[in-house]
Amino acid sequence: MFRQRIIALLVIIVAVAIGYFIYQTEQVDSSYNFKLGLDLNGGSHLIYQADVSEVATSDIASSMEALRNVIERRVNLFGVSEPLVQTESAGLIAGKTIAQKLIVELPGVADIDKAITMIGKTPLLEFKLVKEDPPAVGTTTPTITLTPTGLTGRLLKRAALEFDQNIGEPQVLLSFTSEGQELFAQITKDNVGRVLGIFLDGQPLSLPVVREEIRDGNAVISGNFTPAEAKILVRDLNYGALPVPIKLLSTQKIGASLGADAVKAGVKAGGISFLVIALFLILWYRLPGAIAVIALAIYVALNLALFKLIPVTLTAAGIAGFILSIGMAVDANILIFERLKEELRRGKTLVDAIHEGFTRAWTSIRDSNLSSIITAVILFWFASTSVIKGFALVFGIGVLTSMLTAITVSRTLLFALGFKGENKITRFLFSCGIR
């Protein structure tokens, strides 16, 4: 008995400490503040599709990584705080068409339009072999076949502005990374006498003929540039040239005011929900109900702390998921208390009935919670949007922690009260209903 009371006291002290941690970290600007998703904080969510159809399968991962780096560098130029740039491959069920995606999240609202436009302006640099065949019979235009060489902006190290020494025309000098240097040497060696076109965003910039193998890893673009054009091209290439073409699939922008409303509504709904559940538990289950309310309060504190520590990015759907989990967290308590009452009706003593209630209800609690966890895992894995992912994560964490609080915590607290004998009062406290 004494030991149980010590444990119960410890549980309550830890819970209060967790509560204080949550309160304290919200008062100041700390790294433990709740992370709010774009739909609550305002911001933009962009999904791009990367066209990897011309990339060898083994190079897809490195191309996507290069793409991510390029875009991240671009986004950072605009002083957006904490941008998120990530790649996603759609995995086993998607067809090849939309397998590779790039997701850009830009929180806040400053200069977003400019950032989006700049992402769109990131140059796509490609080297392609150009083969010109004589016109087919009956037509006048020659057929042109373009063969990708695998040499792209991915392998670009640096671009620089130069002026031709003879005629003073501006030129753009490209230097490749060591991998690019090798590839470039190989290509030029194999294709002496052919045209190796340099394409920017699909448009030919210059179409030089390969005269000899180039080993030093430098290429020169000499188009008809004005100095100003050449300068912009150099700047854009140095910020990063796209290794693969990208296409905007979806844009989502949320203003800050809509998000703030959603947060307020979520907090209010959470508070009212807790009160409604607490009222129900105390009216229906009396003393055990009151214990369950304390366990539920600990559940709420524990979850909020986990959201801060992991950290979980909260969205409107995530908050809804959490509130939903408050309603489901007490399910285990209900199963236990109903069982407890049943054992009492069968004539068991109070202590035995409490023991039986917890042990016998366990199998159904375990099995039913497992099915919720299955749902959460599948939702998380196959979530088509970050909103659903957020919901699944919050929901899953909720189911797991509820098993701890609803069973372990409420059992500890109930035993700590230490009912031994039975009298009218205990009978009243442990029976139920409105009577």
Partner: protein, 309 residues
Amino acid sequence: MELDKKIKKMLIVNNRKIFYIISAVLVGVSIIVLMVWGLNLSIDFKGGTIIEISYPDERPAVSDIEKNLEKLNLGEHSIRPVGEMGYLIRTRSLEESERAILFQALSNNGSKKITEERFDSVGPLLGKEAVRKSLFSIILVIVCIVLFITFAFRKVSEPVASWKYGLITVLALIHDVLIPAGVFAVLGHFKGIEVDTLFVTALLVVLGFSVHDTIVVFDRVRENLKVNHETRTKKPFEQIVGESISQTFVRSINTSLTTILVLIVLFFVGAVSTQMFSLALIIGITAGTYSSIFIGSTLLVTAEKFQRK
């Protein structure tokens, strides 16, 4: 008194045909409604753009905006007032350049001040992917749950095999998903309410929750079968199921009640973006509770009767 209690216990099992008919009608109507009207899919699935803007100074009339948008070649679109200051505009999916032009037009070439509250554009490719992923995850959840139930009840084989528990759960699950889908088809037809990826999430949660309730009853059947076997009382299966239902009746109702209570709060008080999500859950969980008490376990009895024939 004693007899009275016994009849009460068997009330649900004995009247199972009535409950089958109620469910059959609800599911039948849902299927017809889904086939005739279908679901009103949001841009998540079919692609498109939703823009919410507000005019902090003065909101121009719809016809004025319409006049400005005419030249833009937007195709089919709609403008609907939101609150006192804003409009919700729906168009096909827009490119970034088109978005800039559209905002220019909405602000009447910069003469009206506008605030962009929300801009949501989904390309058709992504929509198709969302459809595929949604269907796949629903099927996957159902399959996993059946396998899980079959596994969890593997030791129960007399008189009804454990895979039948799984099969019955699936029937109950399909029932629980079809009813909210049917309600949303009706809402979509009459009120223009759309289903988005969050709706699919709601259906998946309904699946998980409805199994939750079904397991509570099945678990009790499992336990009572064991007791029956140990004490050699040889009660008929029908009676065991009937007793199990009546023993777990209150807790099935109460566990659902707490969840539905918070959902009702969420529906009325919570964020606007999750309102329809809560509604779908309320309908689905209600259907789920009904099916686990009145359909799931009673089907066990029917399955056992069927075997004996």
